[in-house]
Amino acid sequence: MNDQWTDRLSEYVDDELANGERTALEAHLATCAACRATVEDLRKVVARARALDDSAPKANLWPGVAKRIGAGKVVDIRSRRFSFNVPQLIAASIALMLLSGGGAWLALKPPQIASDGPFTPAPSQGQLQATWTGKTDAAIADLQNVFDRNKSRLDTSTVRVVQQAFTTIDRAIAEARTALQADPSDAYLNLHLADTMRRKLELLRRVNALATAQS
């Protein structure tokens, strides 16, 4: 097989031929079994390439990387030039929460809210200028519905403890939302709200998993 179309078959497979060329090649394929077989093979090669699995290196390369970047040493963050936008700061708070329950972040920057004052009901979502909460609100609502359906599977004392935790978290969320009404762009308040909402998400996920395991 070595006709005028042989070197164009990959372009045909990739749908990169002009209409006239495609029509002519398809007419050729109708009469050339060898080219038809090659097209089939080329399609299999493409599919095989897309299905290649990634594999781990045989050696652990992290120690070499860690040594070169100075991991383990105290890093002076002032020496690193960086800037965050609010979503990145929110993301950072999530990781901090996952690592330390949020305590580390709270120690670094107390939220600018009055924690001693009377409890203020949460404002409606539409009042907030910080719009990033919508997706997390939806996730919390979904998980809350699951919890409400399944909580009867848990013993009473567990449900009571969980409800107390929800009350505390909801209060913190409401306080953060109220504070954000005054300053919607405050990065630290956004961080605090994201951190607190993430706590509720994690708690809901854990308790739902526990309820499911009881079934």
């Binding site: 990169e16 897309r50 990634d54 390369l61 991991a71 002076d76 965050f84 993301a91 708070s93």
Partner: protein, 183 residues
């Protein structure tokens, strides 16, 4: 929001969070990013260059990523950003080695190195091995196009060749590799 979407969202949030933390100097967060992405980066490097260079180059990619994290603005996924950086490191290494000399001659026979081993049963190769035995130019175009999904115009800019050469190299690579499909 179903569980899968929720899990994906949480995973993406976690990676984005680690990227932000690593940019601030948190090596533990960077190690988590390394653990998440090392297999993909190592596989890319191994396929683009020789296997015995893959470990060193993979380390270079992550060191470069650490140095460049301040430029990651979050417009794209961290994995996409890291992958593009890895391709640049590989291409930089390729230039350093001077392997580009003569690698994109259209008269080159990419089948030669592969077919020589195929006829000996004990040396018969699987698809990945056959890929590794392609000449550098055909191999890199094949990996970038068929494995990684880049377009010929992008590959042309990366490798300093015209799109037509990229198409030609890709076709030669595919024709060589079709003999190593799992039948």
């Amino acid at each position: 929001m179903n569980d899968k979407v929720l899990e994906d969202t949480l995973a993406a949030d976690s990676i984005g969070a680690d990227a932000a933390l690593a940019a601030s100097g948190d090596a533990s967060a960077f190690e988590r990013l390394y653990r998440t992405h090392v297999n993909r980066i190592h596989s890319l490097v191994r396929r683009m260059l020789d296997a015995d260079e893959a470990d060193d180059l993979t380390q270079d990619v992550f060191v470069r990523a650490w140095e460049k994290l301040s430029t990651f603005r979050g417009e794209s996924a961290f994995g996409t950003w890291l992958h593009r950086l890895a391709v640049n490191v590989v291409l930089g290494r390729r230039k350093t080695l001077g392997v580009e000399r003569g690698r994109f001659q259209t008269g080159e026979d990419p089948l030669e190195g592969v077919s020589a081993k195929r006829h000996t049963p004990e040396l018969s190769m699987d698809f990945e091995e056959a890929l590794a035995n392609l000449p550098d130019g055909a191999r890199q175009v094949f990996v970038l196009h068929d494995v990684e999904g880049y377009r010929h115009e992008e590959i042309g800019r990366m490798l300093g060749i015209v799109p037509g050469t990229s198409k030609s190299q890709l076709h030669h690579a595919r024709m060589a590799l079709r003999r190593y499909l799992d039948r």
